[in-house]
Symmetry: C2
Subunit: 159 residues, 2 copies
DNA sequence: GCTAATGTACTCGGATATCGAATGTCCGAGTCCTTCTGG
DNA sequence: CCAGAAGGACTCGGACATTCGATATCCGAGTACATTAGC
């Protein structure tokens, strides 16, 4: 799995702590984890295209969450970065077998494909059940005051 | 996910239909799905290293299942090909943050890492619950006689 | 003093290199069968 | 006719190219603010 997924999840969690009225530049978001700014920017663009973030150009511009943290599931973020197609993609190799038929959609009927799809659905269901708000709540519960501190750090040192 | 996983799963399912006393060469296994022989051989070697298959050199040599199909889970096959490390690997980027501590194992405590790990465990649990025998049984149930036919095809045209 | 236009700095956005891993291919090591020769 | 040895063919096993996507970087487009000139 792409490393950008981890960056995106942590960055979204950070943005959940920031003031919704203030946009945070990619430069600042990258500095939070000592990440390369330009590449993180690329991931943020993907999140923006997916409708998870909104972007603003110019001075006092940057990124902010497009909707409430509780309405952003981990699956949303993963799909935005990794793409919608499932990890195991059936190539229908059964069709090339001597006992394979032509007019059959092996992607749907092949037993192997079905088993893998079932596993992947379990994975997606687990991810869809967790939101950015849940992550933030867990952290806040373990280390009270973190959200306040992070939110302040993200918007400090602003012209 | 690597395409070799699909090849490995289908090939194991085929071997489950073959006579356990007869080894099937990689060439024949590849011909079953019109796959490149040399590359499939590479995957079969990985399965042999993982203890899923046993290999025999020389004439009348080839591969066969190392244990009963019911004792080979889909997870075993996937791990043999893809490797044991999980798809989402926490890089502990929290350590680089201004509020990060040095002596903390973020791979275990980070909320993001935990959430992703939980999803991946669900995926693995689903894969571990299905065996090659289950796949073979499903196919045989839908298309009776397939196992017999496949098994015969694999060992026919043998000196 | 107020307004409007202009310049400037800051930010996103996409186009452009670089690197590693998956993909694909090849030849050598080992083994078993067959065959031939000698008794 | 039988036994043993040598040859050959078949198969796995790992070493060697190639292609594709993830990684990393840079420069241009657009915007808001500050400044300045004019009324």
């Amino acid at each position: 799995m792409s490393e950008g997924v981890e960056w995106a999840l942590h960055t979204c969690a950070n943005l959940a702590c920031a003031d919704p009225g203030e946009a945070v530049p990619a430069k600042r978001l990258a500095a939070a984890f000592a990440l390369p700014t330009a590449y993180l920017n690329k991931q943020l663009q993907a999140l923006a295209r997916a409708g998870i973030l909104t972007s603003t150009s110019g001075p006092r511009g940057g990124f902010r969450l497009a909707r409430a943290p509780g309405a952003i599931s981990l699956l949303d973020v993963v799909v935005a970065i990794e793409g919608a197609e499932e990890a195991f993609r059936c190539a229908s190799i059964l069709r090339a077998s001597p006992w394979g038929r032509e007019g059959v959609d092996y992607r749907a009927t092949c037993a192997v494909s079905q088993a893998m799809r079932r596993a992947e659905l379990a994975w997606r269901r687990e991810l869809a059940g967790q939101t950015i708000a849940d992550i933030a709540a867990t952290v806040e519960n373990r280390h009270p005051g973190t959200a306040e501190r992070v939110g302040g750090w993200l918007t400090e040192a602003r012209g």
